[in-house]
């Protein structure tokens, strides 16, 4: 079971910096934490600013999960209302605002996918383009974008560097909220293989994020 090293010797060391790579903001613009702090104090303009900064990213995430533009708009509104209502629960010590918002958005989107039985409709759409599915995640990334240091392109580059088999299982787990067993059933891949692919893929992305952070 254990590697032989005790817990203390395995985990000691300086506290690591979060590996987050955030999007750039204009000089002088309030930081994400400042905006959330203002929202906690009831400042609606701060929410408006946060919406302008992140609605595109969060809507893309919602669309990636539910594949329906009208439902995505409704969900986006619900997400920002939840950000407004739950901002008091955000703690900067536990992570970055974007990570918190993405986690919240993903959870709501996957809930909606299940509740509204949009799953079947999304399935139909996905089946219409099965061979594009893994790569659709990271399409439209050009060498120019990567050279320019665009965050999206960097993230897409990290993910697209994974073998397609690993991209596929991560895609099903993250964007469709499937468990390992569900992925195994959906893809006809043995459960152990699904687990290995998920672990390897996620570790590669995590390690790449750490390297990216050092470079930026």
């Amino acid at each position: 079971m254990s590697s032989g090293l005790g817990p203390a010797s395995e985990v000691e060391g300086p506290k690591q910096e979060p590996v987050t790579v955030s999007i750039g903001t204009e000089p002088g613009a309030p930081s994400d934490v400042e905006l959330i702090t203002a929202i906690q104090a009831g400042d609606a303009d701060a929410l408006s600013h946060l919406y302008d900064r992140y609605s595109g990213i969060l809507k893309a995430l919602i669309l990636r999960i539910i594949h329906n533009d009208t439902e995505a708009d409704d969900l986006l509104q619900e997400v920002f209302l939840e950000i407004w209502n739950q901002a008091k629960n955000f703690s900067a010590e536990k992570g970055k605002p974007l990570g918190w918002m993405v986690t919240l958005t993903r959870r709501r989107s996957i809930d909606a996918l299940r509740k509204k039985q949009a799953y079947a409709r999304a399935e139909e759409r996905l089946q219409a383009e099965p061979e594009r599915q893994p790569l659709a995640w990271v399409q439209n990334t050009t060498a120019e974008e990567i050279t320019a240091g665009d965050t999206r392109a960097l993230m897409a580059k990290v993910i697209s560097s994974l073998p397609e088999a690993q991209q596929q299982v991560i895609d099903l787990a993250f964007f469709r909220g499937m468990s390992q067993r569900e992925i195994a059933a959906h893809t006809n891949i043995p459960l152990g293989t699904v687990k290995t692919r998920l672990e390897l893929g996620l570790k590669k992305i995590y390690d790449s994020l750490k390297e990216l952070k050092d470079e930026l």
Partner: protein, 86 residues
């Protein structure tokens, strides 16, 4: 579970991909490793940001923002007790 095994499980945990039996072992190890475990889990949430940031931003409707801000300002006014002017 070694800390390396815990780290592998943590990355699955943050995307909700642990099976129920794995979740039990994970929670036990989480207690065992304490603050180091919590720090690592928090770092793993950066994966969420990475997946979201890998997507091409979608155009959000201006009407949605107007409706949202109207609702928020109305709630804000109600909570502060200052009724909107007639």
């Amino acid at each position: 579970m070694s800390f390396e095994e815990f780290q592998n499980s943590a990355r699955l945990y943050v995307i909700g991909a642990l099976e129920p039996d794995e979740l039990q072992n994970f929670e036990a190890s989480r207690k065992k490793y304490g603050a180091a475990a919590e720090d690592f889990i928090n770092q793993c949430y950066s994966l969420h940001e990475a997946f979201a940031l890998s997507l091409k931003p979608a155009k959000a409707s201006a009407a949605i923002k107007d409706r949202l801000m109207s609702m928020v300002r109305e709630r804000s006014n109600r909570q502060s007790g200052s009724a909107p002017s007639a």
